[in-house]
Amino acid sequence: MTGTRWRAGARWRAGARDAALLAPSLAALALLFGGAIIGAARVSLVPLGQGPTLEAWRDLFDDPLFADAVLFTVRTALLSTALAALVALGLALAVRRRGALVRILLALPVPVPHLLVATVAVVWLAPGGLADRALGGLPVTPVRDPAGMGIVLVYVYKEAPFLLLLVLAALGRGHQESDEAAAALGLTPFQRLRWVTWPTVRSPLVVGSIVVLAFALGAFEVPLAVGPSNPPTIAEYAREATQGDLVSGQSTAAAALLLSAVASIALAAIAVRAARDPQGG
């Protein structure tokens, strides 16, 4: 009896110690992130110098430009993420047995800021840019393309190497042994990809893709640098709103950004669910 009580006490003390160790970072995050979301919700509902109102939300849903912005943002973000994941998977399969140097060179864009990649895209792909000059004219002009091709290109160039690192980390020695065993059992390359490789890389690829998708849905330095002026992305729409009316613009911007945040979290939840579901992949 005394021993059981002592063990329970020790467990409680260990739990309390772990909670105390987690507290600084979790409290900081809860305060900053929670404060930010509450602050944005407050701005959207209580414009400067006015009482509570849903006007900003009504304006948002009545504005056809916002609907265009949502469609444009979701389309470019989904396309960028899907293409980056495909490129990462293809590259991972091609270089998984190569040395560290190839991996480092392929990972070169990972620490490079998004805005810098967008600047490089303008230098190369804008009308009169280096690619235009070298090839004597480009069949399409990705920079400022109304369909957002420039945005997608920048995100794929920047994010595919990030996803590649995650996939390569999963394709370690354990996977190689399983793959060789499957080959010895007579499975075709496609069957090995379907039954051995894909289950190994699915989780890191999905988690990484969620981060990429969330970033592409919310960032606006890349769309501002290489995207079209119309339609805007949601973040660009929010920024433009703040530059119009100083009072109601802030509320509209906060409402638009909150919607974008909710969309990111919802898409992440769907992706996590799909990745867990054995029938989902």
């Binding site: 995050l29 900053l32 930010a36 602050g39 091609a94 960032a219 974008s260």
Partner: protein, 243 residues
């Protein structure tokens, strides 16, 4: 070949930054010079570089201090139900940085902190801290715990164990976490724009030049790239990538 394709576009920035005259359709510049450097540094760029550097270093350091104990608990898999902790860590990564900046501005204006460096550090910390915790936790585990136990049995005090065993063993992960934290803060645009209150930050100063003056944009972009090159050099020397 793919590796070359991935790295070559960045090299064009160097030529563009020093091309005073480079009219289409010429493939090489008509005139090289320092016009881009002069314009880039005649405005608020130097101040912006200093601000961005200060905020990124401070954010990474604060994040490391806050993340260390949490990473230790998570890395040693001491929690029976870690999912809620990871969920809280992931949430800021799913939300637009401009949304976080806009929301925090509301409070910082009330506190009289809007546009100050501490406000920028706090805003950046919202995104940097999750990355630092997630990278740092990989440095802790049974191997390090066993080393610390040997040191404890041999009579080393907690401070000496930290100094002589824990820190040297976890140094590569601490370095990688600090670099990731620095780069996430250094690259941030949305929070800096929302919380800066007119204080120049490098990404905010760079963006208008991308469409208006490619030479100045390329010069500032090289400045923006410098820490990333440092990261790659360190990673190459260590023989592995920090992520």
């Amino acid at each position: 070949m793919a590796a070359l394709l991935a790295s070559a576009p960045l090299l064009a920035l160097v030529v563009r930054a020093f091309a005073d005259e480079w009219r289409a359709p010429a493939l090489v510049p008509q005139q090289l010079g320092l016009r881009g450097v002069q314009i880039a540094f005649s405005g608020s760029s130097a101040e912006a570089f200093g601000n961005s550097l200060l905020v990124a270093v401070a954010t990474a350091m604060v994040a490391l201090v806050l993340a260390w104990p949490a990473a230790r608990v998570l890395g040693e898999r001491r929690l029976r139900h870690p999912a809620p902790v990871f969920l809280l860590l992931a949430m800021p990564l799913l939300v637009p940085s401009y949304a976080v900046g806009t929301g925090l501005t509301e409070w910082f204006i009330r506190l009289g902190l809007d546009g100050t460096l501490p406000a920028l550090v706090a805003g950046h910390l919202t995104f940097v801290l999750p990355y630092v915790v997630l990278v740092l936790l990989s440095g802790f585990g049974p191997r390090l715990t066993a080393l610390e136990e040997v040191a404890r049995v041999n009579g080393l005090s907690p401070f000496r164990r930290l100094l002589w065993v824990t820190l040297p063993a976890a140094a590569p992960t601490v370095g990688a976490s600090a670099l990731i934290g620095f780069l996430v803060s250094w690259s941030d645009y949305g929070t800096s724009l929302a919380l800066g209150g007119g204080r120049p930050m490098l990404p905010v100063v760079l963006l208008p030049f991308v469409g208006a003056d490619p030479q100045v944009a390329a010069t500032l972009a090289l400045l923006f790239l410098a820490p990333a090159v440092g990261v790659l050099a360190a990673a190459t020397r260590a023989g592995r990538m920090p992520l």
